[in-house]
Subunit: 436 residues, 2 copies
């Protein structure tokens, strides 16, 4: 007898049992439906790209995480996000695309991180982006949170808050203080405010050469809170005259104004000056989304505006705005918090023929139900009735349709409600209606 | 100015423009819907597996094509089909699965082949399999072609033929002739009958040590044609007494009988004794599916029964049956043959505000349409009317809803049928109905 290989997968990869997979797919389908309802076009770029192309911009931590390998003469990499492939795609197919180009892509990306709880090496990203040719109107900055709003209403995981900021506000403020060359470091430090606390932030800022007086000004600036209108008023009254700053404040005002026109509830979005988003390329409005009852999950949907998507591939100026959901991680977190509702089976009915003579009837009854849009399984194994019903119960199918000789001869079936256990003889013609 | 990287992808990878992607997704969704209608459960295994696990069985040509690489201490491979991951999954999760286990998986697989027309290195496979624990009834052998039948009716690419054979018939026949040890070679040679012709097959068979008299018997056996009933009669009258053979003939008879009970048109399936399928693991019923008007495409949906899915991982006996569609290749071939119908846009309406004051109305009209299930895009760029209409036309959206000051004040919109060019003022409340 040959040696058996132990069947297993790598740590850091998610693999679900069917019941969870159904719940996962339901989330996936909901997100896709909302993206399509807003006019986004589907895209499906290759999983494997040329390293030279994919890594044109990457460096540091990202590059270390890449699954990169050679095959034949080619230096290849698995995509680590959907943004770089989008940039490559738009640069490559520019003449063939309508602009603004609105696309969604919901695909797996790959990062060879050290495995840890809730971090995955292979995970779904669900992205939308709008790419303008040369210009992209500010209204799109409001459309994004409007879509997040619709999305999380549909996903139905309780109340949530879309936090919003504008990088120009931060950039302009820090430029005025004379820290233009340290914006990156300062923003990264401030990004950790919630995580490491005020004192640690101050000491880190001091390390970066921020003067004590400025540190205070920075922290009191970031302490501007209140309603959206109060924050907007606070920003205007902050005594900052830097032009980028004023532009950012004007943009925030307009985006808030549009969001109200878009019918987004005031309680669902909030200006938050501490939001910077780590990535270098955001240049305007930025977003994070928090589930109010589960702040420890962190942001479940983030994104923002960038000035130039495709700088590494083309001189064409292509500003854009986008958001991303890390679906695999989100699903994992929701499940850990008991927030994944049982999705139930896809099949609404299982047809169970009692004996071999009932097969033909079973098949035609199943075909009839499918024709009326009711996904229907049939149990064809010749086992005992007990085992047949166990299969039906295990799959969580709500209705069983049992067909034996007496039913067959009477042109009826025995319809069993698997939840209540009730059963009744039903004419085949009335079966679909009974189940609805 | 920095050097630009030329945006491009590798040869042998399919990447579509949005319009084609919509058509591709439509096929994908149709296949998924049919699979779900028949009670198959979704599965999504990792793209990356441990080489030791994934390649437990592989060898020869397959192994050469694998994308295999190291990351950290791990020897990894990209899946090259969905069958080996299924075997691994079933062996790994056996106690948690319902049997018969019916699953579908529609995911990308990877093969580093030399690129050639119509062959892809990364492509979608759309698989269903039914796995029995210890036994799996023969009725499932008939359910598979019944699903193929439903599937290709829904896909609507014209008439098709499901060719069917049974490996026991072939194996038994050749065992009786004394070529039990050469079945593999003989079947592979016969598999090429259509491709290389009768003479080349004879000379190849002779090379394998088949006697001249037997060659004739083999070829006349394979020349048993006619209606399904005529072939079944011919098989019974062929004078073969080998037990496996007789079992195969009995199975074919039963499967044909069931297929008729399943309501599959007689013209849609045909016993074809030349069908063997290359893979070693098929042991019973095998299938191929031909589009009648496009025989050069080869089989567009193939599969069959195997005795033991998971021999490399477990002693548990798990017989199964499955079919597979290579969707990427199929889409490519259909497009080459002009068989991909324009799928049209996903959005059914584009709302176009004339000026900035019309934004609010535009957004609320769009929200209303989406709420009624009509995917709706909005054009937010402040461009001229001509450019706005060009965008709508380019996307192929059937209706444009134009909102200017006069419409806004009157509570109406201008609804334009983009195909006919006709336009009329419509009350907002009647808009959805007008478009249906």
């Amino acid at each position: 007898m040959q040696n058996k290989v132990q069947p297993r997968i790598l740590p850091g990869f998610m693999e679900l049992l069917p019941e969870d997979q159904i719940a996962f797919n339901k989330m996936y389908d909901t997100i896709r439906k909302v993206y399509e309802q807003y006019g986004f076009l589907p895209l499906d770029t290759p999983t494997i790209e040329l390293s030279e192309v994919l890594l044109a911009k990457a460096g540091g931590e990202t590059e270390k995480q890449i699954y990169r390998f050679e095959k034949g003469d080619n230096d290849l990499s698995l995509r680590f996000d959907l943004t770089v492939p989008l940039a490559r795609y738009v640069a490559q197919h520019y003449p063939d695309l309508p602009f603004p180009f609105k696309r969604y892509q919901m695909s797996k990306v790959f990062r060879g991180e050290r495995p840890q709880k809730g971090r995955f090496r292979e995970f779904y990203q669900c992205d939308i982006d709008v790419i303008g040719s040369d210009t992209l109107d500010l209204v799109y900055d409001a459309e994004m949170p409007a879509i997040i709003y619709r999305l999380f209403k549909e996903l139905d995981f309780g109340s949530f808050t879309i936090r919003m900021n504008n990088r120009k506000v931060l950039n302009g403020f820090f430029t005025e203080l004379g820290y233009a060359d340290k914006i990156g470091d300062i923003l990264r430090t401030i990004d950790k405010l919630e995580k490491i606390g005020r004192d640690a932030v101050i000491s880190e800022l001091t390390e970066y050469g921020v003067q004590a007086a400025d540190t205070e000004r920075i922290l009191s600036f970031l302490a501007i809170t209140g309603t959206n209108d109060e924050i907007l008023a606070g920003l205007s009254a902050a005594g900052v005259s830097n032009e980028t700053y004023l532009e950012g404040v004007a943009e925030l005002n307009k985006v808030v104004d549009y969001l109200r026109k878009f019918g987004v509830e005031e309680s669902a979005f909030r200006i938050d000056l501490t939001i910077a988003r780590g990535l270098d390329y955001y240049t305007g409005t930025v977003y994070e989304t928090m589930l109010n009852d589960y702040p420890s999950m962190g942001s479940v949907c983030s994104g923002g505006r960038y000035d130039n998507l495709t700088g590494y591939y083309t001189d064409q100026k292509l500003p854009g705005i986008g958001i991303s959901i890390g679906l695999t991680r989100l699903f994992y977190q929701l499940r850990e918090n008991g927030l994944i509702k049982k999705a139930g089976s896809i099949a609404k009915c299982i047809v169970i023929p009692m004996g071999e003579d009932d097969m033909g009837t079973a098949v035609s009854v199943a075909a009839g139900l499918r024709g009326q849009g009711i996904p229907t399984d049939v149990y064809y194994q010749q086992k005992g009735m007990k085992q047949k019903m166990k299969y039906a119960a295990r799959l969580g199918i709500p209705y069983a349709t049992i067909i034996g000789e007496s039913e067959r001869l009477a042109g009826t079936v025995m319809l069993k409600n698997m939840e209540t256990g009730e059963q009744e003889a039903v004419a085949v013609s009335e079966l679909a209606a009974k189940m609805r």
